[in-house]
């Protein structure tokens, strides 16, 4: 059996056992769509569907946090539902929870070690080949057919949920690790033995993390050369067609109506003429950089680097790498890691009386 199938089977076994023991009633989990060309999240009640679930799909067209936010948009769930997702998705869920955009009550978050995702467009071009490539990815960890943003992700084994499924260095098995009291109580309730981090697992994670960190440093250096400054930005976003797919696919961009998609930035013809006259020319779609930099100032503190934006961009702008590059610098201002601590507030809703002195009275 392939690695992929082993992980799939073992995870499903665990979910089935936990559900039978009454730990949760419903399960939200990715599943291959009937045409076998892609995957989507499915909310499962009926056990016969569970056997087709894919806890670790090779591609992810819709970020899980977005799914949970539509599910609980009108209020919390009444019965317990398990949500099986990658660490970056769960980290986004936690950010949305802080913003009141996902109601976390009654959701059992189950994270799973993530070997990375394949670029969506390359997968759909040939799903069979894609599956073979993904099998190699799981076998090798860090193989370069995963999305560039995944190659630089150091959160791939974050125990982000209430329960975490460890697959790294697990010898054809999964390890069901309770992360917090809630996860611990649930596993006890359904009499499932709690797994724990083994030395081998930790060593492998450390090794992979170092590799990713190196990739990240390299990618940062590249971006310093290719992104920074007016001319570079102009080139980088030259192909942007202003479709706003990046914003729509982003789980963190939760605003019902985006300012940059509102009438506030649609102007009378005269105004565009005035701008063209003042500047000598005016490019359309207008306000491209305003849109991107504005989005950065609005949401980058919570950007988890999931890559959903980049997967959604029709003209292959490396949006996720760009946003992560900026996001990490903004997050550093407040030593904030989005999705890591449910009790920690998003930096923009709290403050210290004395802080950020460097930004006062300086240029």
């Amino acid at each position: 059996m392939s690695n992929y199938d082993i992980i799939r089977k073992k995870t499903i076994e665990f979910l089935k056992k936990a559900r039978d023991a009454g730990c949760f009633k419903h399960i939200l989990i990715p599943m291959e769509i009937p045409s076998k060309e892609s995957f989507s999240y499915v909310l499962i009640k009926d056990e016969s569907f569970l056997i087709d679930a894919s806890p670790l799909p090779p591609v992810n067209p819709v970020q899980g946090a977005k799914v949970l936010s539509s599910l609980t948009r009108r209020g919390e769930l009444t019965g317990k539902t398990a949500a099986v997702m990658r660490p970056c998705e769960i980290r986004a869920v936690i950010e949305l929870g802080k913003l009141g955009q996902v109601k976390l009550e009654n959701i059992v978050l189950i994270s799973i070690d993530c070997p990375g995702l394949l670029p969506f467009s390359s997968y759909t071009a040939d799903p069979e080949k894609g599956k073979a490539r993904f099998e190699k990815v799981i076998g090798e960890w860090g193989n370069d057919s995963i999305r560039p943003v995944c190659m630089t992700c150091t959160h791939f084994a974050d125990k982000a949920g209430d329960i975490h499924i460890g697959i790294i260095e697990n010898n054809n098995d999964i390890s069901v690790i309770p992360v917090n009291d809630r996860g611990k109580a649930l596993l006890e309730q359904c009499v499932i033995p709690a797994g724990k981090d083994t030395g081998a697992r930790e060593t492998k994670i450390k090794k992979e993390t170092d590799k990713r960190q190196e990739n990240l440093n390299k990618s940062d250096d590249e971006l310093k050369n290719s992104l920074q400054g007016l001319n570079n930005l102009d080139k980088m976003f030259a192909d942007c067609i202003g479709c706003y797919n990046c914003m729509r696919a982003c789980p963190i961009c939760y605003c019902r109506l985006c300012y940059f998609n509102s009438e506030n930035i649609r102007h009378e013809a005269d105004e565009y003429i005035r701008r063209a006259e003042a500047k000598g020319s005016l490019r359309f779609p207008a306000d491209t950089l305003l849109f991107h930099s504005g989005r950065m100032t609005h949401m980058s503190l919570s950007c988890v680097g999931c890559g959903a934006c980049e997967d959604a961009c029709p003209v292959s702008i490396p949006v996720a790498r760009i946003f992560q590059f900026i996001a990490r610098q903004n997050q550093a201002l407040f030593a904030y890691t989005p999705g890591s601590d449910r009790e920690e507030n998003i930096p923009l809703v709290v403050y210290k009386e004395s802080e950020l002195e460097d930004f006062e009275d300086s240029h």
Binding site: K224, L227, Q228, G229, L230, N232, L233, D234, F237, Y259, F260, R275, A278, K279, G280, S281, L282, R283, A286, D287, T288, L289, L290, S293, G294, M296, T297, H298, S300, L301, F325, I326, Q329, N330, L333, F334, P347, L348, V349, Y351, K352, E353, S354, E355, L356, F359, E360, D361, S362, H363
Partner: protein, 140 residues
């Protein structure tokens, strides 16, 4: 370059800095004529998008001024404003743009003199930087 009169947009909190500007005017203190004040109800009204809009349209400098920490009319507005301002300025810096064209200052209603000084000092700084290149860039 000596003829360059920087266009500086000032977002001034109604309760402190705008009143401070008034005091400066009444005292006939020297404030550069090219300074464009915009009255806002609190420094926390300033969404980063407003600063960025001014910047990308070619403002040479952008000043956000509010009450001193602890004195905000709405108690905490300026503390939140400071965090948002920091994120805005840091974003411009990370993008390799002119983050130096942004300034945050606290000016109370009685500090007419400080108001005039802040604006003059900022204007001098911007004069050294030169005009915002985005004034003549086909608006990205």
């Amino acid at each position: 370059m000596d003829t360059f009169e920087p266009k500086i947009v000032g977002f001034l909190c109604n309760w402190c800095s705008y009143a401070g500007a008034d005091v400066a005017g009444n005292a006939k203190l020297n404030v550069p004529a090219s300074f464009t004040p915009l009255r806002i109800m609190c420094s926390s009204r300033i969404d980063p998008a407003l600063i960025l809009t001014a910047y990308f349209r070619g403002a040479d400098g952008i000043l956000v001024a509010g009450c001193h920490p602890g004195d905000c009319h709405y108690e905490k507005g300026n503390y939140f404003a400071r965090r948002r301002f920091a994120v805005t300025k840091n974003t411009l810096k990370a993008l390799g743009l002119d983050s130096q064209r942004l300034r945050l200052s606290w000016i109370s209603a009685s500090e007419g003199k400080r108001f005039a000084e802040v604006v003059s000092e900022f204007t001098e700084h911007i004069k050294k930087l030169g005009p915002n290149p985005l004034k003549e860039t086909g608006d990205l």
